[in-house]
Amino acid sequence: MNYFELMGFGPNGWGLPMIQAATMTLRVALAAFVVGLALGGLGAWAKLSGSRFARGAADVYTTVIRGIPDLLVIYLFYFGGSAVLGAIGKWFGATGFVGMPAFATGAIAVGLVSGAYQTEVLRGAFMAIAKGELEAARAVGMPPLLMFRRIIVPQVARYAIPGLGNVWQLILKESALISVTGLVELLRQAQIGAGSTRQPFYFFLTAAALYLVLTTLSTIIFERLETRAMRGVRRA
């Protein structure tokens, strides 16, 4: 079978499974991004707060995560989570290995890692807001919650877009590691196909091409977002 038959959409073609796996990659990456955004928001708030404990905890989080390989984190959640689930299962009389749901494992593990980077991005974005604008909000009688909603959040969103775009690209690529949990995202699907047809090069080449499509589209989208968001700002 030549390459085009192999990757086509015919009866023996692997085109459809590969594309479906690519959407799985997108789904798990999005889930991880959301987890990371929540953690990043928490972390940035902790680092900017007055509490020494909060700042210390956030520092530990970012330093540890940025120094440890993502694969190790994935193994921790997968095996560690399975151990926890297994213990719970034993309570109910089940025996044997209870595997952690692969999607959740991947999303949480990669989300945890990206949260450390998103903390720095959001923190930097907040510090980029001119202090005078916050003062003007206070001077006009805005209560803190209103100021957060109307002044802080929109501006953090703007300034954070380039950094968040970087983090998104990272997540997209790191999602390939989730294949070790068995989740059928793009790389796993390519492995399955390669094993089945003994044509690993074609499959991994296709996987690479699909990843390239995803990352390129992401770059374009984020550039658009950035232009739109920065329309009021005069850059230095």
Binding site: A130, A137, G141, M142, P143, L146, R231, V233
Partner: protein, 254 residues
């Protein structure tokens, strides 16, 4: 005449530095008070104590007859009622030296923001009033522009419109022209003069001596954290005032 703003024995200390050492001042309705003094005399600090952007270490602040309540907490003095502070701030209009327009909103949105979201007034009504104010300060054509597209003078006029939109009982100007290029100072001073002639209550911290003399109904001269001299422009500028005030004006004119 009713008192719009009253401060009694206001003191403010930063660390070991006593910036304000007992200020007693009453601003009556309709008065335009120019506050002069050299750097470090405490003029901006005093202004910022009135709308609580700085918390005075001691003394009373009374706005439109309402006294701001303070409490002690952990050795520091804090406002007792957060909502009172927000309310009082919404009754005072502040114009900053560095304009401080919100950069993610257009000029019109800047002016409409607080009336709609803090005072909860209906947007359509606020919009009409806002456009009127922008026309009044001379930048109606810039309503849809972002602050970064405006010159310094235009931005400051927008900031004045933003303060006016709150229908404040009194206006506080913190060195409104100090950050402007000389050619742009005039247009802002013209707007402020217009407001004074309308009879608005205002406190203006400024370096512009001629402006102070022409527009203010009262001059207050701060020196080393206390009011050294005060009086009408006629009294102060014609050899009256105190020795230190005379030295100050001589240095400014030099």
């Amino acid at each position: 005449m009713k008192e719009a703003i009253r401060v009694k024995n206001l003191t403010k200390r930063f660390g070991a530095l006593d910036v304000l050492r007992g200020i007693d001042l009453a601003a009556h309705e309709g008065e335009a008070i120019a506050i002069l003094g050299s750097s470090g005399s405490g003029k901006s600090t005093m202004l910022r104590c009135i709308n609580l952007l700085e918390i005075p270490t001691g003394g009373d602040v009374i706005v439109a007859g309402e006294q701001i309540a303070f409490k002690e907490k952990g050795g520091a003095r804090l406002p007792a009622d957060r909502r009172q502070v927000d309310r009082i701030r919404s009754e005072l209009g502040m114009v900053f030296q560095s304009f401080n327009l919100w950069s993610h909103m257009t000029v019109l949105q800047n002016v409409m923001e607080a009336p709609v979201h803090v005072l909860k007034r209906p947007a359509a009504e606020v919009k009409e009033e806002a456009m009127g104010l922008l026309a009044k300060v001379g930048i109606a054509d810039k309503a849809g522009h972002y602050p970064s597209h405006l010159s310094g003078g235009q931005q400051q006029r927008a900031a004045i419109a933003r303060a006016l939109a709150m229908r404040p009982k009194a206006m506080l100007f913190d060195e409104p022209t100090s950050a402007l290029d000389p050619e742009l100072v005039g247009e802002v001073l013209r707007v402020i003069r217009g407001l004074a002639e309308e009879g608005r209550t205002m406190l203006i911290v400024t370096h512009e001596m001629n402006f102070a003399r022409d527009v203010a109904s009262r001059i207050v001269f701060l020196d080393k954290g206390v009011i050294d001299a005060q009086g009408t422009p006629a009294e102060m500028f014609n050899g009256g005032g105190s020795e230190r005030f005379r030295q100050f004006t001589a240095k400014q004119n030099a």
